[in-house]
């Protein structure tokens, strides 16, 4: 079952066109790793899928319903449309973006309380459950300033999970972490993969992508350059640009 269908997705910043008409279908349970050099548009693509950036042209269809409404040949996006999509498409950021004035549990509860209007006790119970899932049950009442980078990112994952998203977007979730903290975050993401969650992951961890992804997309200059199974793309790429990119990342081992 296709849950996300993207057609002709184009994004321009001023005169600079970052994405040139991307087509993409995501089937439930798929785990897609998006690779590409910096500036290839991979983060922008991800950010267009939950409308952190508004697409300049093209459509995003979620569960068969196109987001936004048509007007004058383009699309307009009302706030109501966007908050609806974002509740169903969770996002985990490179810089965590935890709310520093709230505890770990407060961060996880925030969406449930403010957006879902859940009673406090219910939200708290859910937050504890999600924090336990990422191995941070005992940090529920700790403020982000007193958490390590890896712990912060796990809280951020719990915050996204609490909203019961149909799909998760990870935007370089380990790039801001010290090397020794990367493992704990990847372990959590891997466990989510094993639950069969649908996810899109922008990453530089090629070994992780190889083991976790069901499909790998290589993006170059704002377009999908090559895609296929992890074996096809990472072990025997057909195109030169993909090969060149992988050659620069040879330090990973399968």
């Amino acid at each position: 079952m296709t849950i996300l269908r993207v057609r002709g997705l184009t994004k321009r910043f001023g005169d600079n066109e970052v994405l040139h008409g991307i087509d993409l279908d995501v089937v439930a349970g798929e785990r897609i790793a998006i690779l590409g050099a910096s500036g290839s548009g991979k983060s922008t693509l991800l950010r267009c899928l939950n409308f952190m950036e508004l697409p300049t042209a093209g459509t995003v269809e979620l569960d068969g319903k196109t987001v936004g409404s048509e007007r004058g040949g383009g699309r307009i996006y009302r706030e109501r449309d966007l908050t609806g999509v974002r509740q169903r498409v969770g996002m985990v950021f490179q810089q965590f973006n935890l709310f520093p004035h709230m505890t770990a549990a407060g961060n996880v509860m925030e969406g449930l309380r403010t957006v879902r209007r859940q009673p406090k006790a219910e939200a708290r119970a859910r937050a504890e459950k999600e924090l336990a899932r990422v191995g941070l049950a005992e940090k529920a009442d700790t403020f982000p300033a007193h958490l390590s980078g890896g712990q912060k990112q796990r809280v951020a994952i719990a915050r996204a999970l609490a909203m019961d998203p149909e799909m998760l977007l990870f935007d370089e979730p380990t790039s801001a972490l010290d090397p020794e903290l990367v493992g704990e975050v990847l372990t959590v993401i891997r466990s989510l993969a094993e639950e069969g969650r649908t996810m899109l992951l922008v990453t530089h961890e090629l070994g992780f992508a190889y083991h976790v992804a069901t499909r790998v997309i290589f993006l170059a200059e704002g377009a999908i350059h090559e895609q296929g199974t992890p074996d096809e793309i990472l072990k025997s790429p057909k195109k030169d640009k993909t090969r060149a990119f992988l050659a620069g990342h040879r330090q990973f081992s399968f």
Partner: protein, 226 residues
């Protein structure tokens, strides 16, 4: 030449001066309350991407920041009643003037505070499905306000000092009453000295409070910045 200081006549007028101080504090409090609310509204309007919100707000802010408060007070007290055809008491004129005047400054404090919050905080909030309004109220403003407290205190103190201008339109604040006492007792030196000291004590107390708050925030700053 030796002058015989005599504070007794001034102290005999202490009740009148106390009443004046009360009026000063009341005017400050009322203008501060209106100024803060109006200032937040102006800041949000100015930050709006829609020009028909941001332009009028920008105009009000610029005009009230760049013209002298005494000119504003005279305009609202002498000119505005003739335009709209209503009587203006000195108190109302002062509240209107100082509320708008301080709101122009508060607006810039709010705006700077809101803009100092990293984009990631907005995105973190929007990503869990919050509306922009919810993100502002729940995530951005609470963090911004903590950072803005020193600037708020400074502006509040400026406001209290500015309220002395109402003496010129015969509202019985501390300065106006001091002037009355000076004329009645023929002791301007003692009276104005006492008035200056009273202002100093009250305003300095607020300054110290503001500085303590600032220090406490600087020490606890770890928990607000990650």
């Amino acid at each position: 030449m030796s002058y015989q200081w005599d504070f007794a006549p001034v102290f005999a007028s202490a009740p009148l001066l106390a009443e004046g101080l009360g009026n000063t504090l009341r005017l400050t409090a009322v203008a501060l309350a209106f100024g803060l609310v109006l200032g937040l509204a102006l800041a949000l309007m100015r930050l709006s991407p829609r020009p028909w919100f941001s332009w009028p707000a920008g105009f009000v802010i610029e005009v009230f920041r760049t013209t002298p408060p005494l000119v504003q007070l005279f305009w609202f007290f002498f000119a505005l009643p003739m335009i709209v055809g209503i009587e203006m008491t000195p108190f109302i004129a002062a509240v209107v003037t100082f509320s708008i005047q301080s709101s122009a400054f508060f607006a810039e404090v709010f705006r700077a505070g809101i803009q100092s919050i990293e984009r990631g905080q907005w995105e973190g909030a929007l990503a869990i499905g919050m509306s922009r309004r919810q993100a502002l109220n729940r995530i951005v403003l609470p963090q911004a306000v903590t950072r803005m407290i020193p600037a708020f205190m400074e502006r509040a103190i400026e406001l209290m000092k500015t309220t002395t201008l109402v003496a010129t339109i015969a509202y019985a604040d501390l300065l106006y009453d001091a002037n009355a006492v000076a004329q009645k007792t023929y002791r301007p030196l003692e009276t104005f000295t006492v008035a200056a000291l009273v202002y100093f004590v009250v305003i300095f107390a607020f300054s110290l409070l503001g500085r303590r708050l600032e220090r406490r925030l600087a020490v606890g700053g770890d928990s607000t910045v990650h």
